[in-house]
């Protein structure tokens, strides 16, 4: 172990080296970004609505009315992108809970459902919740033909008085 008194010397040396390393990294990082062909902007727009808009760009949004009527006609499967805890507290009737990390395991069954003609609709909760859109995008990337997004689905669904379902126990 360090002898007392020497610690200060070591720490000082470490801090000095650390600062130089960080400054060097920042310089390299800045120059690299300036030189790379696809420059990444230094300041981006990150308000929730602009992020949602960006995410929805390649995706199709579905209206609450349409989703509700598809549900009544039993023509839609809902995918709940929230965490299992929130899901258990209440979700769309018959919805499948597919949180973030579990997309992979669901691709095939969702694809099969889509191929039977069911509409696939993903949702989460809150205007700035991106999980539903990300789930839709991930599924489409993996070959599910069409996944629509119901933005801020859970809150709107509840306030509109559409039927909901809770886990027993």
């Amino acid at each position: 172990m360090l002898k007392s008194g020497k610690f200060a010397v070591t720490a000082k040396l470490g801090i000095r080296q650390g600062i130089v390393l960080v400054v060097l990294s920042l310089m390299i990082g800045g120059s690299f970004n300036a030189l790379r062909p696809s420059k990444f902007p230094w300041v981006g727009s990150w308000s929730p609505s602009s992020v949602t808009a960006d995410l929805l760009e390649e995706l199709q949004e579905i209206s609450l009315e349409e989703a509700c009527s598809l549900r009544q006609k039993n023509e839609a499967i809902f995918l709940d992108a929230r965490d299992p805890g929130s899901f258990d507290e209440g979700h769309f009737p018959g919805a499948l809970n597919i949180p973030f990390g579990e997309v992979e395991g669901w691709v095939e069954s969702v694809r099969d459902m889509a191929n039977t003609g069911m509409k696939i609709i993903s949702y989460c909760d809150g205007m700035d919740c991106l999980l539903g859109a990300e789930l839709a995008r991930a599924l489409q990337k993996k070959g599910v033909p069409s996944v629509k997004v119901l933005v801020n689905g859970w809150s709107r669904w509840r306030t509109a008085g559409c039927p909901i379902e809770k886990e027993e126990g």
Partner: protein, 171 residues
């Protein structure tokens, strides 16, 4: 006797060398995948909901390079004291960010070793992983004696400089 043996093993520069390589590899890898996809990494940072809007892109551009430099420095054994210190600070910050969002219950991707948004939600294991890496970094800071390192190779005969950095690490 036994206790002493274990203690000396814990302080061993060889153990430190293993940690150094392991950490170095991890930091280098984590940095490179983020440099490749700054937009994906920026989205991960945004999802943590900790930084102001104007900082997100800048951090996404610069942080990966700090990771790469730290990784490179640890692997090559140049300025390992500085890089293990920076690594410790970074891992400490990551631990705080993870803890805050675990407490908030946000379902977000870690953004640690993947920039994909569907890479897996953060949970307690991510925090434990971060903390064990932090332990390694601290070990390297205190016990690394620049074994198998470029510093030692370059300065092989320059006992004075080695002494200056590592002599007082001896018991």
């Amino acid at each position: 006797m036994m206790k002493q043996k274990i203690l000396s093993w814990c302080k061993s520069p060889i153990l430190s060398l293993c940690f150094r390589y392991f950490l170095g590899g991890i930091f280098l890898y984590a940095g490179i995948i983020k440099v490749i996809d700054p937009a994906g990494f920026a989205l991960s940072i945004y999802n943590y909901k900790l930084l102001p809007e104007w900082m997100i892109n800048a951090v996404a551009i610069l942080l990966p390079w700090v990771e790469i430099m730290v990784g490179g420095s640890l692997l090559l054994g140049i300025w390992t004291m500085g890089s293990s210190l920076v690594a410790s600070v970074l891992l400490g910050i990551f631990a705080c960010a993870l803890t805050i969002n675990l407490a908030r219950g946000l379902d977000i991707a870690c953004g640690c070793f993947s920039t994909a948004a569907d890479a897996g939600t953060i949970n307690l294991l991510y925090l434990l992983r971060d903390l064990s890496l932090l332990g390694m970094a601290i070990h390297v800071f205190f016990f690394d004696q620049a074994l198998v390192s470029v510093s030692r190779f370059i300065r092989g005969k320059d006992k004075e400089i080695i002494k200056k950095t590592v002599h007082y690490l001896d018991d």
